[in-house]
Symmetry: C3
Subunit: 204 residues, 3 copies
């Protein structure tokens, strides 16, 4: 229980850092409050949408102030060390961010299964948890979300989520399934970015 | 009851087909997963938003896996026969899609009235059910939703929804009111598209 | 209680007027139904989002038809007198709109505190109540929301909201805290617009 909670907080902080840096990288002349909005939406957008759809109230950051404190810490850290992060910390950050996406996919999937969502929808909600913070952020900033453009963005999440459901149904212990599925998502996604893999396009 | 459920599933499938084809028509190089997101959002976006606003939990596709199966079937059917659909099946599809909009408007209105929403808001929620799947899809894809540009998009839905409320209050049987109102929306909308009807613009 | 209700209705009407005029000012050839959508989203978008996040059902305009009547009245009034509003009524409207933003910030904050939200999140939800009607409207219309561009848009709301929480914790009577905080938001924001104040930009 405690491990899950700390993992969730850590993932939130990582997403706040990467949300801030994405905004700094793309836009100029943002002030600290605007940066906070980007960090906040990136960090809690996907999980909040999932909780509303499956009626899993209260939403985490509503009942527990630690989430906002972690986001503000992530924001300040990202702003203070922004030249490092965008420089020689660029690669470690991407690994971190990808790990965060893996963790949030399986945590979201598990939460959905836990409240009785059917497995097909639960897989989808896992992906929503991990990717829709970024989608909402891009939509509010009037940009096309990456998930609609770059091909191999959602595929690793889908693969890992389906794997997790199959491992559970095969009787594997949840923790081992969790670690395996997160590893598959992370490695698959890092390789896909590096090698430029993509699904074949379908022409109209 | 069973008829309503089957109608709802059928409408979901039709919206999945038209969502996929709209995406294929507008964008190039989409892969199957991106197409699924378009199909999914088009098919369940409006109804999910309605259910969240009126607290009508559980959302249909969360508790019943048939909705996702119908969407995946619609997606595969649309991809497999995409040249037929965009060719000589273009007109039948538009009739089908318009029928789907009519059905979703009145189904959504009825569901809202059923949980005690006031009639003015219920009419609005009927329109949201039918049109906001497309609105959310266009917004995520960074396009201006048609409802904000082409004039006669929401008017037939409004007309049919108001008619349905008036017929119910006049004591007509719900099923007859349903059929009449859906027919009015469908015919009105097909005529409006064909004749290029529009409401008069208001200049600033 | 009655005063709060009437204040809320009045604020809704003011937002419907300013939503309609913003749409008329920016776009051409909008018909009355499209204008209604803009007025409606501007007026109830922020409050609806807040209520869904904190599970404060039923959403106001769902259970009480007066909200929609006020929005329709505001819409018709704005359309009928649009030349006056955009002409010599331009300044009074901005004062009115800013007052509406002040009132909605503190009303939203209070509602969130009332259902047990932690103070940090409650401050955020107050700002969401006041500003996200406009954000959703701009996003649907495929424009970048002002809150992501013009610097001093959210700062006065944040200042007033934090002040209100501090006054309450210092033991001040809620009504006096309400009036003081709304005054601070309104005066701060009007001055910021007039003087072109902005927070210092952070460069990437």
């Amino acid at each position: 229980m405690d491990t899950l909670y700390l993992t969730d907080l850590l993932g939130t902080g990582v997403f706040a850092v990467s949300g801030t840096l994405t905004a700094l990288h793309k836009k100029k002349d943002l002030d600290i409050l605007t940066l906070f909005i980007f960090a906040f939406v990136t960090a809690v957008g996907g999980g909040t949408l999932r909780d509303i759809i499956i009626q899993a109230y209260p939403v985490a950051w509503i009942s527990d102030a630690n989430y906002l404190l972690v986001i503000i810490t992530g924001l300040l850290l990202a702003v203070a060390c922004r030249r490092w992060w965008l420089g020689f910390l660029h690669r470690p950050l991407r690994v971190f961010d990808t790990l965060g996406i893996g963790i949030f996919t399986i945590l979201g999937l598990e939460k959905a299964l836990h409240v009785g969502v059917n497995p097909w929808a639960a897989v989808l909600l896992g992906i929503v948890s991990a990717l829709f913070g970024g989608v909402i952020r891009d939509t509010l900033a009037n940009e096309t979300p990456l998930v609609f453009e770059r091909q191999l963005y959602a595929t690793p999440c889908l693969t890992g989520a389906v794997l997790y459901v199959m491992l559970l149904q095969a009787g594997l212990h949840a923790t081992i399934g969790f670690l395996l599925s997160v590893a598959v998502i992370t490695v698959f996604r890092l390789l896909a970015i590096r090698k430029g893999w993509s699904l074949p396009p379908i022409r109209g």
